[in-house]
Amino acid sequence: MIHLRHVLATSFTVVLSLVTPAFASAEGEVGWGKTLFHGLNAAILFFFIYYVFGPKVTAALQSKSKQVARDIDEATRLQAEASARLAAAEADLAALSGKASALLDELRREGEVERDKLISQAKAEAERITAEAARTAQSEIARVKARLEAELGNLAVEAAARALREKTTPADQRRLAVEYLTRLEERS
């Protein structure tokens, strides 16, 4: 970079030194001696400038170059750090996603267990209610049946009592008394 810059600067100075007298001679007032003089003058100026300002410019450029290099290194470090953080964040995200997935799975399993439990309980309760209803129905049927039988029995007995009161004659009464006495005599 420095050599290229030197070559360019020198070339520019030489061309400029040569061209200026050429234009002047074209007007017919200056000769090649002046041109050479001016060229030499320009060369002295060039070297003067080069030796007076060259090191400072070079130092400034080198300092700037080093700063740029440091900035690039810092940027590279920051990029690496950011990449590392990104990787860590992605890892954390992946881990979190795994945990969330596991948690969801666990919750799903627990939900399924709870669901199965509730269904089982509901079935048991339904069976219990059904059995209870069946027992109640059977009990009610038995109760109604017993009541009907009792009512039938009562009606039959009342009808028999009415018939016996109407149909029993004094002879029947005596026969009943004799049968009673016979049973008592058998017991005595």
Partner: protein, 182 residues
Amino acid sequence: MKASTIALRYSQAVLTLATDRKQHEQIGRELDRIAAVFAGSDELRALSRNPKFSVTDRKAIVSELLKRLMVSPITRNFVMLLTEKGRLQHIAEIVAAYHDQADAQAGRIRAQVTVVAPLAELEAARLRTVLQKMTGKQVVLEQQVDPAIIGGVVTRVGGRIYDGSVRAQLESLRTRLRSPAA
């Protein structure tokens, strides 16, 4: 229980006195008549129980009653004593206790026989005989008519009941019809 104790105490006293005078049969009959009069009269039962009647009023009415019934002095004095002591409402129970103790004293036992129609003499004698054989005592039959038994005979003697009534048979039938095995 208290009434039974009262009845036993009064009946024992009058029975002892009547037995000493050899009038226990007569006194028993007189007491039966008095108990029957009280059983058949709401007014007399009210007189024996209602506290608004004074002892003097009660004694006056009972005295008049006993005069009309022409009872013996023992009976008269006994009933007047009951009136004075306020025990007239227990007369039926006292008379029953009197008969029980008189029967026990004489080696007798009473049998309450419930029938639809009074037993003929032949059946009554058979019943008396069989009951004497069962109890080992002389039996006095007391028949009472109750159409509710429909037919047959119910005998209560010595704390036992021999129920041969049609009503009892119908009740047995009713029970069998109600039972699940029927």
